[in-house]
């Protein structure tokens, strides 16, 4: 058992090789199913680690209440965020903790199938999971069927309706859901989708209970979480921290630039925060007041001297290219936003006009896609305008700042693929 209040939890006993099933069971104790799982989950206050931060118990209860003999538990380890590495780190440390959590959730909702989804572009993790599943298959024949699925890696492929669409019909395209909450289905079977790290937390709560779980974190945001720190760091790292640790101390632990200009929180569909707020506790209750959120646990550190306009422009251009191009406002709107940002980045003559147009277009596009991909981009842009206010104003007044000519960038994006090269199935 892990001592109450001790860190790490999710990465407990981790080494450079994934724990085998027997190593895992001797480090964490055997996993047993109990009837009070949902109550424990509810009392733990766990919220999702995939981005939206919704209470996990509430989602599980909704699916548990659905009728149907066949249900699916879907583990989302797609990790579409380019700056996120935490699901990979977790599954490379201890795939069995994630699988335990998936089994607990399956038993709560009454699922007879568990689908674990990892992007096929990540062969290391696929390999770890294949081995872990093989170990489990020799253990017992009871319980739900565990199956590995490998959709293509795309930003929106990890969006839950796109993931379900892929499992149902081999296409990673989001679905239209006019009313929320919407019950996602594979065939006729209701499906619960939870992020891999969320499942690992459930793996802890199912073993040790809610009050143990709450020995870290705050009342509103209990537990620990994984963060992927990239940008101005010695080397990109994934660390496990107690929720509510200040951003400043997270940067310190990650050996990041202690005096940056701004940090990006959540991911490329996330929010920028000016460095004057670094003493804020890292949890949604505290960050909400600043209009930002922890999202998928990404922290990108941007140093002073870097150009916030260029950082923003590069990400938005890539995100626009990752649109699934099903909805007009997203397919046409996001490239238009990227183009406005390009004008500003070049500090061209119409940069000021482009800035006004950018702000207006954000208002026009928001909320009009079938999925929240465009809304994420808009959140990213709006918070950039605040966090990098000085950079934007230099550029719109006709001077490209010195940082914008640098060749080093901090928010890294994969190289742009041509539209006909994008793989969706």
């Amino acid at each position: 058992m892990i001592a109450p209040g001790a860190l790490p939890r999710l990465l407990h006993a981790a080494s450079d090789r994934p724990l085998t099933l027997s190593q895992h069971e001797s480090a964490f104790g055997a996993s047993t199913l109990s009837n009070s799982l949902l109550e424990e989950l509810e009392a733990s206050g766990l919220t999702g680690r995939g981005g939206a931060g919704f209470p996990t118990a509430q989602k599980a209860r909704l699916i548990r209440e659905q009728r149907g003999h066949s249900k699916f538990m879907v583990v989302n380890a797609m990790e579409g965020e380019p700056a996120s590495h935490k699901d990979q780190a977790l599954l490379s440390a201890n795939p069995h903790l994630v699988l335990d959590g998936a089994e607990y959730l399956a038993s709560i909702i009454g699922a007879n199938n568990i689908a674990i989804c990892v992007a096929r572009d990540n062969p290391t993790v696929v390999n770890h999971l294949e081995r872990a599943l093989h170990e489990r298959s020799r253990r017992s024949l009871r319980g739900p069927r565990l199956e590995l699925h490998t959709p293509p890696w795309r930003y929106v492929a990890g969006e839950e309706s796109a993931l379900i669409h892929w499992l149902d019909d081999n296409e990673s395209l989001p679905q239209y859901r006019p009313r929320r909450p919407h019950i996602l289905r594979i065939g006729h079977s209701p499906a619960l989708v939870d992020n891999a790290e969320t499942c690992a937390n459930v793996g802890l709560i199912g073993r040790y209970g809610a009050s143990w779980y709450r020995t870290l974190g705050t009342t509103e945001n209990p537990g620990s979480t994984l963060v992927s720190v990239t940008g101005a760091v010695e080397r990109p790292t994934v660390i496990e921290i107690e929720l509510g640790t200040t951003l400043r101390s997270i940067l310190h632990t990650a050996a990041a630039d202690p005096d940056p200009a701004a940090v990006l929180l959540g991911g490329y569909g996330g929010t920028w925060l000016h460095a004057r707020h670094l003493d804020t506790p890292y949890n949604n209750a505290a960050l909400k007041n600043l209009g930002v959120a922890t999202g998928a646990g990404v922290i990108v550190v941007v140093p002073k001297g870097a150009c916030g306009v260029v950082e923003t422009q590069r990400v938005v251009r890539w995100m626009a290219n990752e649109s699934a191009r099903q909805c007009g406002p997203c397919a046409f709107g996001l490239p238009a936003l990227a183009e406005d940002l390009t004008h500003i980045a070049h500090a061209s003559r119409d940069a000021e006009v482009a800035y006004q147009r950018l702000v207006e277009r954000c208002g026009v596009i928001e909320g009009r896609g079938a999925c929240r991909h465009p809304d994420g981009v808009i959140r990213f842009i709006r918070t950039a305008l605040e966090a990098f206010e000085t950079d934007f104003s230099t550029h719109t007044h006709g001077t490209a700042c010195a940082g914008s000519r640098a060749t080093r960038h901090f928010a890294n994006v994969p190289s742009l693929e041509r539209e006909d090269e994008l793989i969706w199935e």
């Binding site: 679905q175 909805c327 007009g328 909320g367 009009r368 079938a370």
Partner: protein, 82 residues
């Protein structure tokens, strides 16, 4: 026919995946739909009272007239405050 007292509200919703952006709906229901610079509909998203018969009729025209059947009227019943 005759006058019926209608309580509750509605919104016109578009399925953006089906919509082709030719903007037919903006002509059929101008009080509810504008188009953006690419021709896709921007629909009033505050609920409109069903008692606004003209707006409701327009919404019905748009719903029926949409060539992609991308529009849908979502009704909300409301308990009238006494």
């Amino acid at each position: 026919m005759g006058m019926r007292r209608r309580s509750g509200t509605f919104v016109l919703q578009v399925n953006p995946i089906l919509c082709d952006g030719f903007g037919h709906c903006a002509e059929l229901a101008p009080e509810l739909v504008k188009t953006d610079e690419w021709g896709y509909p921007i629909i009033v998203n505050e609920p409109v009272p069903l008692a606004n018969v003209a707006a409701y009729e327009s919404a019905r025209y748009a719903e029926r007239g949409c060539p992609r059947q991308a529009l849908h009227i979502q009704r909300f019943s409301e308990k009238k405050p006494h």
